[in-house]
Structures are given as C-alpha cells and as structure tokens.
C-alpha cells in the first residue's frame, strides 16, 4: 500500500511520543482501540485551569497510519482550547494525511482519543471540585 509522504514523515519522525504523569490533576488520558483489533492509541493532554492544552503526548500500537494519525493530532491540539480541540474530526485527519479508505478507522481512533482524553480531564476536575 502506498502511503502519502505525510504519513511516512509522521511515522519516521513521530512528534510528541511519550508519557505524562497520569496522577497529575491537569493531565487527561485517553486510551482507545483494542489489541485484538491491531491498534491501541493513548493520548495524554496537559490542560491548564483556563482550559488551554499546553502539552500533548502519545503512544500508539498500530500500523503506520495509526501512528501518523496520533502524531498529527498531538501537533494540532497543542495551544488550542479544550472546546477547539473537541471540534477536530476524523475527516480532518484523514484528509491531511490522505489516508487510504481501508485506514480511515485510524483517523476515527485519533478523534476518539482526543475526546477520551478531554473527558478524563473533565472527570478529574469535577472530582476535585466535589472534594473542595
């Protein structure tokens, strides 16, 4: 399968690979996919109290498209507000990377990972507020 140059670039030089501290109240973690399906994406976002995404890290088990999709969204979400990040759709990812049809689900996973990470952050914040 011939991949676009952008997929290959992200695959060979992935941006923001790594791990943020899960215990940090400002870090939201999204873990989506399943090992049995051949792809698991973990996206972590560090979000300020004002709701600005100041850092993003990912780790992905999956094909080249899955790695490229997660690498791309870490670039995109940095500096955005939570509300802006929520508007990123899988179509944007698929278009930017020119994913072949059989790999569209990798972009869906990337969108899901953003939403899951933000949801996790919001849950943590609510728990904190309830305690206070």
């Amino acid at each position: 399968m011939a991949y676009s140059d952008k997929v290959i670039d992200h695959y060979e030089n992935p941006r923001n690979v790594g791990t943020l501290d899960k215990q940090d109240p400002n870090v939201g973690t999204g873990l989506v996919g399943a090992p049995a399906c051949g792809d698991v994406m973990r996206l972590q976002l560090k979000i300020t109290d004002e709701g600005i995404i100041e850092d993003a890290k990912f780790k992905t088990f999956g094909c080249g498209s899955a790695i490229a999709s997660s690498s791309l969204v870490t670039e995109w979400v940095k500096g955005k507000t939570v509300d802006e990040a929520m508007t990123i759709s899988n179509k944007d990812v698929a278009r930017e990377l020119a994913l072949p049809p059989v790999k569209i689900h990798c972009s869906v996973l990337a969108e899901d990972a953003i939403k899951a990470a933000i949801e996790d952050f919001k849950k943590k914040r609510e728990a904190r507020q309830n305690k206070a």
Binding site: Y3, P14, V32, A34, A36, C37, G38, K59, F61
Partner: protein, 453 residues
Amino acid sequence: MKLPIYMDNHATTPMDPRVLEAMMPYLREDFGNAASRNHAFGWKAEAAVEQARKQVAALLGASDKEIVFTSGATESDNLAIKGVVEFYKDKGDHIITLKTEHKAVLDTCKRLERIRQERLDELKQMRLGQLTGAPVSRDNLAELSIKHDLDNDPVYRQWAELPTGGARVTYLEVEKDGRIDLKKLEAAMTDKTILVSIMLANNEIGTVQPIAEIGKLCRQKGILFHCDAVQGIGKVPFNVEQMNVDLASISAHKMYGPKGVGALYVRRKPRVRIAPIIDGGGHERGMRSGTLNVASIVGFGKAAEIARQEMADEAGRLLRLREKLRKGITEQLDMVTVNGSLEHRLPGNLNISFAYVEGEALMMAIKDVAVSSGSACTSASLEPSYVLRACGVEEELAHSSIRFGLGRFNTEEEVDFVIKLMVDKVNRLREMSPLYEMAKEGIDLKSIEWTAH
C-alpha cells in the same frame, strides 16, 4: 551487499540464472508449438517439454507419464480437487482438509460446498412443491422445510444422497505447532470420503506435515490423497511412491523457476482419474488442454533438476542461516515467540511474533528487507492471519507477526544486517507502544476494558 534484501521466498523466488539460460533458446529460435507433429519446430519443442517432464517427475519420485503441466499450483489444486469430486461422484462426496491449507485449496472446497448447498436447496424446493402443491420460493424455504420436516422425509433424504456435483468438507483443526493429529484425521474419515487434501509444508509458518503417515492411512482406507507440495518440494524430502501420494501440486516460481507454470502429479498405478476443468485440444492426455508454455516448462524442468541435485546441501545452509536469524533476534529481544513447530519445519522459514508491535508498522520500519506480515494488514482485509489463528495464536500476537523466508540467494551478511535492523526497529516501536509500557509496568492487558471498533 545490495539493499533492499529479499527475504520473502515463500511468496516467490528469483529465477536462477541457470534456469533463464535454459529457457532462452525456446523464446527465440526454437519457438515451435509442442503439439505440431508435422515439422521440426514442433518436434524440437515437444522433445524439450518431454525432457522437462522427466526432470520434474524425478524431483517427485514419479514417472514422466504422471506429470500434467498447468499454469501454476492454484490451477493444479483446483484440477486435483474438482477433478476428483467430478470423476468419483458416484463413490462419495466427502473431502477432508486442514484449516491451515492455502486459499487455493480452501476456496476450492468452499465453492464445492456452495454447489452442493445450492443443489440441495433446489431439491428441497422441488419436494416442497410436491408436498404443498404450489411453487416454493427461496425466501420461505427454511421455514417450510422445518414445517414439513424435510430432514425426516424419506423422498427428500433419498434425493439428497444422490451426487450433487458439489462436496461436503471437513476442515480439520491443527495442533498448536501447526501439525495434524493423525487420530483426528482417521476419525473424520467416512465411507463417503473420496479425498484428503493436505499440504506438505505451510506457506506461513513452514510446518511440515507427516505426509508418509497420512498417505499410509489414506491408502489403507481407499481414499485418494492430494498433497499441495508447493512450499516444501525441493526443500524437504518428498517422494510420491514412498509417501503414497496420489495427486501433488507444484509450482515453478517457488523453486527458482519462472512464474505461470506448474504441474499436477496424477498417479498411474493404481490409476487415479480426474475430470478436466479446462476443455479444448486434449493436451496433457486430456487432463489440461491448452498450448504448452514451452519455454517456461523448460525452465521449470531445469529448476526441478537443480533443486533435486542441490537440496541436501542447500537445506543445511538455510537451516544454519535460519537458526542464526532466530537466535540473533530472540536472544536480543524479550517477548518474542516463534510460531509453528521448530522441529518439523522448512529450513528457510521463520515466523515470529513481536508482542506489542504491530506487524505492518514493523514492515514499514524495515523497508530495507522484503518480508511478509503475518497479519494480512497490507491487503484489503484487516483480519489477522487465519493460519496463525488456527494454531491458537491470540489475535493481538497474530497482528504482530513477521514471516521471513530465506532462500538460495540469501547470504550470512544479509542475515547479520537483518538481525541488527530487527532489534533496532522493534525497540524503537516498542518505545512508542502503550502496550509495551503497560506490560513492563506489570499491568494485565486482559484486565482492561478495550473499546473494540
């Protein structure tokens, strides 16, 4: 050393220069049709084909009269299975094969099952028409069949026993190491079984089946034995006489010959009959019509001769290289598993799962070496390999598998390069893998509720 390195010799092999040299005259001045009986061009072509037939027969331990040239092993498998089912339909309609066979066998069997089912449905429609006195459509066939208890209807049951042109098929499980359990094979045999089709060596995991024992059992029971020998022939011992094989499929391009030519061995004593699937000029004793592909057949013959002469030495060399590759990888990386039996295995095959790394991503990372992913991710389907699944390999590991196929032209220097490349790239991808990180932290991945998609 030239990059990229080719280590996908199960898919196809490069042509041996000696093969190409043998073919050249038949692509140029000696271009005659082997069926032209009335001039020198035809005679020369025919003589070349008959020479090749002897060379191919010798590799199988067969007589040259038992070799039918085809377009390749897919056609040979189709001809063997459909040919036997058609010819022996009055004797029975049951076939036994393995879940790990090549698609050329499995899909042929599935088509025969569909044909049988369609004929049975037609018979049901007819019988229900008689019983209800009105035409029966396909839509309410199942419902009416139950209502009128067709399974216990003596007339329908009698019809259903008539030859349908299709077949019933048993797809046997294999053991964890990819090998067949002979007791299960024997238990699956019935008085309607006309054919057992089992491969010599598996194309993904290199597992070599106990062909002589299978042949012995089939002979005792009076069942024909077809062996898809494509991957194993010329690499491990194979002899149709000693092993009681009745039909065998082989292909030139898996043994350093040209693509587009293969053969089916069809036993003469005791005689095995098959119905042709291609009709026409009656070439190949009526079993496979079509003008013979003379130059390729000549190349096939030469390839078979080389394989026969060099097999013993080459097998030893490949085994040394394979073991070097296996040890190099498994000693430097944790959480890797070799799939398939190590003992009963093609010398050049290594199928290996790298836990927590996805096969296709790994193939992208090692683009300097041509291998095949154990998972079928590069094709249109995203399903992991059915062969690995049939051997009980878990889905996540089946997604993480790579097949190395070493061949005649691979060198030790290449193996050294590949070991280093694999270790580097697997480590790099594992650094990027959330699963590897979690496993290292001691998290049980099975305890997590994954979001399947």
